[in-house]
Amino acid sequence: MNIQIAESPGDLLLSIDGRAGIDESDELASAFRKALESGAPLVRLALSGLSAVDVSFLQLLLSLELSLSRGGRSLALRPLPAGHVLLQVADLLGINVKRLLASKTESA
C-alpha cells in the first residue's frame, strides 16, 4: 500500500494505492488522523488506485467522514470508475457510499 499526503491552502489530498484491508488498517487510521489533525476544511481522497478493500477500510472512511462533519469540515471523494472495487465491496456490504459522499464528490 502507498499513501501520499499533499497539503495546499484550504485542503488536503490523500492518495491511497494498493490494498486497503485489515492488515493495513493501523497505517490507514494513522494517515486519516493526520488528515484530521491538519485542520484543512476539506479533505480530498483519491482512491482510484486501490486494488482491494475490506470492511475495515469502509469503516475508517465512515469514521473520518463523521469526524470531519462534526467539526464542520468536509470529505470529498474523487470520482471512481464505475465498477471500482471500493464501490463493489460497499454495495455488497450494504454501505451506502454514494449517500455519504456523492454530494461532496469532486468533479473530475
Binding site: 485489515i22 475490506d54 470492511v55 475508517l60 473520518l64 463523521l66 464505475a82 455488497l92 456490504l93 450494504g94
Partner: protein
C-alpha cells in the same frame, strides 16, 4: 423422466419465457418507468440462466448471465430504460433462441456483449462487463451460484447480524460471507453504521457495525443459517421467516409501519403518532428520530420483496400449473380418439341387446368417454394472449422497417384455442400484419394531411363464436382500393368488365398472384400471398373474410374451429361408402328432383328458390363408377363465399367424428383431408370441399 427429457422440457420452457420477455420489452419501451416490467424481464432471464446451467446449456447460461446483469443494473436504477437497453434486450432474446437451437450465436453474441460494454450513462455497462469478468477471473472466491434456485417455494427471511467487535481478528472475511449469502437468492443488505465512532475513538481493526439483511430465496432457513456456520460463535445472529399474509387477492403487502413494529424498531403508539402527520411514513419516522434511515431502508426492502413474491405467485397461478409436453397431450388425444371409436362400436353391438346389462354398461361407458374426450381436448386449449403478445415485437420491427409509427392493440387475448391450431396460425397472421404495415397504413405525412392520428393502429381481436374462434386483424389505413382491384382483376381476366358485385371484386385479393401494388417490397406486396393465407386457413378448416372501408381501413377475419381433432360432420353415402362433410360448411340439404335440376347432365346447375347454384356430382369427383338408382340428395355448401350443391346418394345424418390423419399413400389425394372410423368399424373419408369445388369449377 431422464436427463434428455428434462433438457427438452427446459428448451420448451425457455422459449415460452423468451416470448414473455420479448412482450415485456416491447411494452417497456412504451412505458419505461414500469419497474414491474423490468423485474419481469430480469426474473425471466434469471430463470433461464439458472435452469440452463442446471441442464447443461452452459453457453445459454453464460450469455444470459451478462444480459441479466445488465437488467439488474436497470432494476437497481443505475441505468435508465432507453431504446439501447430495449434493443439489447430484444437482440438478446433472439440470440438466446439461437443458442437454444444449438447455434453459437456467432458475431451477434459478441456484438451484444460489446454493446453492453459500450453503454454509457453512469458506467453501468462497463460495470456489468467488469463484474462478469471479475467473477470469471476470481479464483478462490465463491462465485455466485449459476444454478437453479432451491426447490422450495420462494420465501423471505429477515436477518439481524451483529458480529463481535473482534471478528476480523479471527481471519473472517465478511465480503466472502455476504457474497455467499447473496448467491442464495435476491438479497438486500443494509449496514447499520450509527455505532461507528469518530477517528479518535476508533480502534481500526474492531468492527462497530451491524447488518440488517432481507433475503428472498427458495432455500430453507437452515441453508441460510449455514452461511454463518463459521462465525455463529462470534456474533449475534437472528434469522426469522417473514410471514406472507394471504388476502382474498393474493399476498398482502405489509405497511412500512407494520414491518418496523414487527422488527422491534417502533411501538404501535409510535405508528399512530407518525400517521397523524399524513406525510410519507418513513420520512416522518426518521425526522422524529424514531428510527434511522437504515432501519427504514431495510423495511422498504422487505416490503418490496413481499410485493415481488406476491406478483410472481399471482402470475404463476394465472398460468398452467403443470407443464406437459405437447406430444404427450397429442398421444393422449389419439388414445381418447381410439376409445371414442371403440365405444361407438360397442354401442352398435349393444343395440342388439337393448334390454340387457351390456346396453347399460355401454351407455355408461359412452358418457365417461365423452367426458374424457372433452377433458382431454380442454388440456390443449390455451389462451391466445401470449401468442398475440409475440406480434408486438413484429409490429415494432416493422414500424422501423417501413418508417411508419405503428402500434398494436390486442383484445380478446383470454379467448382460448387448441395449441396445435395456434401454431398453424402464426404464418398467416404474420403475413397479414406485414401487409397491413407495408401497404395498408399510410405514411405519417399522408396521415397528417388526411387528419388522421400520426401513429397508425393495427388491432388484433379474438372472440369465441359457438364452436369456432374468430380472429380479426384490422388496420386504420386507407382500406382496399376497390377501383384498382377491379381494374387488375379485369386485366387478368378474373372477372368481366361489367362485374359490379363488391364482394366478388373484393375476393379477388385471395386469387393466387393477385396484387394491386406497383412495387413489391421485401416486406410484402399487397394481395400477394393472401391466397396462401386462405389456403392455410382452409387446411385448418377455417375461413377468411375481408371487409374494407375506403380511407378507414381494412379488416380480415379468420374463423377457425376450436380444435382440429374432433369435428361436427355431416355423414353422407356415395357408392355404398360413407363420407364426411364439415358441418360448418353445410347450408342445407335438398332432394335432387328432376325439376330442380336445370338443363344439362352432371355438374349442371340447380335452380334453388330462384338462385342458380352449380352442382358437383361427387361420384365424378371421387371417381366412383356407376349411377345411383334412387333419388339423389344435394348438400348445399358454402365454398369461398358462394353456394355450391354437392350431389350425394344419401344423407345419413349429423355425426361428431374424430379425425385420423391419412396414411402417406392417400395423403396426396386433394379431395380428401382426413379419415374417421365409424361406430361399425368402417372408415369414412372426410371431404375437402374447397379443393373439390376448386378442381371442378375452378373457383
Amino acid at each position: 423422466m431422464n436427463f434428455e427429457d428434462n433438457q427438452a422440457l427446459f428448451i420448451e420452457e425457455a422459449r415460452d419465457r423468451l416470448q414473455t420477455i420479448e412482450g415485456s420489452l416491447v411494452i417497456l419501451e412504451k412505458q419505461p418507468a414500469d419497474m414491474d416490467l423490468v423485474n419481469e424481464v430480469f426474473r425471466g432471464l434469471h430463470t433461464i440462466k439458472g435452469s440452463g446451467s442446471m441442464f447443461g446449456f452452459q453457453s445459454v447460461a453464460d450469455f444470459t448471465h451478462h444480459v441479466e446483469s445488465l437488467f439488474d443494473e436497470v432494476r437497481s436504477g443505475h441505468f435508465p430504460v432507453d431504446s439501447r437497453i430495449i434493443d439489447i434486450g430484444l437482440r438478446s432474446v433472439d440470440c438466446i433462441s439461437l443458442l437454444l437451437a444449438g447455434g453459437d450465436g456467432g458475431e451477434e453474441r459478441l456484438g451484444i456483449l460489446s454493446a453492453i460494454e459500450g453503454l454509457e450513462g453512469d458506467g453501468a455497462g462497463e460495470r456489468v462487463s467488469r463484474a462478469v469478468r471479475a467473477a470469471e477471473a476470481e479464483e478462490g472466491e465463491p462465485r455466485p451460484r449459476v444454478t437453479a434456485p432451491g426447490s422450495g417455494p420462494e420465501r423471505i427471511f429477515r436477518l439481524s447480524f451483529r458480529p463481535q467487535k473482534d471478528l476480523l481478528h479471527r481471519g473472517v472475511r465478511l465480503e466472502t460471507l455476504f457474497r455467499e449469502l447473496s448467491s442464495l437468492g435476491s438479497c438486500h443488505v443494509t449496514a447499520v453504521t450509527e455505532a461507528v465512532p469518530e477517528l479518535g475513538e476508533l480502534e481500526p481493526s474492531l468492527l462497530h457495525m451491524s447488518w440488517l439483511i432481507t433475503i428472498s430465496t427458495r432455500e430453507d432457513l437452515e441453508a441460510v443459517r449455514s452461511v454463518f456456520i463459521f462465525v455463529e460463535d462470534y456474533c449475534e445472529l437472528a434469522i426469522s421467516p417473514v410471514e406472507l399474509g394471504a388476502g382474498e387477492e393474493g399476498i398482502m403487502v405489509p405497511k412500512l409501519g407494520e414491518i418496523l413494529v414487527d422488527r422491534g424498531f417502533l411501538q404501535d403508539s409510535d405508528v399512530e403518532e407518525i400517521r397523524q402527520e399524513q406525510k410519507p411514513f418513513g420520512a416522518v419516522a426518521i425526522d422524529k428520530g424514531k428510527v434511522s434511515a437504515e432501519h427504514v431502508e431495510a423495511a422498504l426492502a422487505e416490503q418490496a420483496m413481499v410485493r415481488t413474491i406476491g406478483s410472481e405467485r399471482e402470475s404463476r397461478q394465472e398460468a398452467a400449473t403443470i407443464r406437459v409436453r405437447k406430444e404427450k397431450l397429442d398421444g393422449l388425444m389419439d388414445l381418447v380418439g381410439e376409445l371414442v371409436i371403440l365405444q361407438a362400436m360397442m354401442e352398435q353391438e349393444a343395440k342388439k341387446d337393448s334390454a340387457g346389462a351390456f346396453a347399460s354398461l355401454s351407455e355408461n361407458l359412452g358418457r365417461l368417454s365423452a367426458d374424457l374426450r372433452d377433458t382431454s381436448m380442454s388440456m390443449r386449449i390455451v389462451p391466445l394472449q401470449e401468442f398475440f403478445m409475440g406480434f408486438q415485437r413484429l409490429v415494432r420491427d416493422l414500424s422501423a422497417q417501413v418508417g411508419k409509427p405503428l402500434r398494436l392493440e390486442i383484445s380478446g387475448g383470454s379467448t382460448e384455442l387448441d395449441k396445435n391450431v395456434i401454431e398453424l396460425l402464426k404464418d398467416p397472421l404474420v403475413h397479414i400484419i406485414r401487409n397491413s404495415a407495408d401497404h395498408g397504413v399510410e405514411t405519417p405525412e399522408l396521415r397528417s394531411r388526411l387528419g388522421k392520428a400520426p401513429v397508425a393502429t393495427i388491432s388484433i381481436d379474438a372472440r369465441q363464436v359457438g364452436p369456432r374462434v374468430e380472429i380479426s386483424i384490422a388496420d386504420d389505413g386507407a382500406g382496399l382500393d376497390m377501383g384498382r382491384i377491379r381494374e387488375r382483376a379485369v386485366e387478368k381476366g378474373l372477372i368481366g368488365a361489367g362485374e359490379t358485385d363488391e364482394e366478388r371484386i373484393r375476393s379477388m385479393v385471395f386469387e393466387p398472384g393477385f396484387s394491386t401494388s406497383e412495387k413489391t417490397t421485401d416486406i410484402s406486396g399487397r394481395g400477394v400471398g393472401l391466397d396462401v393465407v386462405k389456403r392455410n386457413l382452409e387446411r385448418l378448416r377455417g375461413e377468411v373474410s375481408l371487409s374494407s372501408e375506403e380511407g378507414r381501413g381494412a379488416k380480415l377475419t379468420l374463423s377457425i374451429p376450436l380444435t382440429l381433432v374432433i369435428i361436427d360432420g355431416l355423414l353422407v353415402m356415395i357408392g355404398g361408402h360413407n363420407y364426411v362433410i364439415g358441418l360448418n360448411q353445410v347450408q342445407e340439404c335438398v332432394d335432387m328432383t328432376a325439376s330442380a335440376r336445370g338443363a344439362g347432365g352432371r355438374d349442371s346447375m340447380l335452380n334453388l328458390r330462384g338462385m342458380t347454384i352449380p352442382i358437383i356430382a361427387l361420384r365424378e369427383s371421387l371417381m366412383i363408377d356407376g349411377d345411383y338408382d334412387g333419388l339423389a340428395r344435394l348438400v348445399i355448401v358454402n365454398s369461398e363465399g358462394a353456394s355450391v350443391g354437392l350431389e350425394v346418394d344419401a344423407v345419413v345424418g349429423r355425426k361428431q367424428v374424430v379425425i385420423k390423419p391419412l396414411s402417406r399413400a392417400v395423403s396426396s389425394i386433394k379431395a380428401v383431408s382426413g379419415a374417421t372410423i365409424l361406430g361399425d368399424g368402417s372408415v369414412a373419408l372426410i371431404l375437402d370441399v374447397a379443393e373439390i369445388v376448386r378442381a371442378r369449377i375452378g373457383r
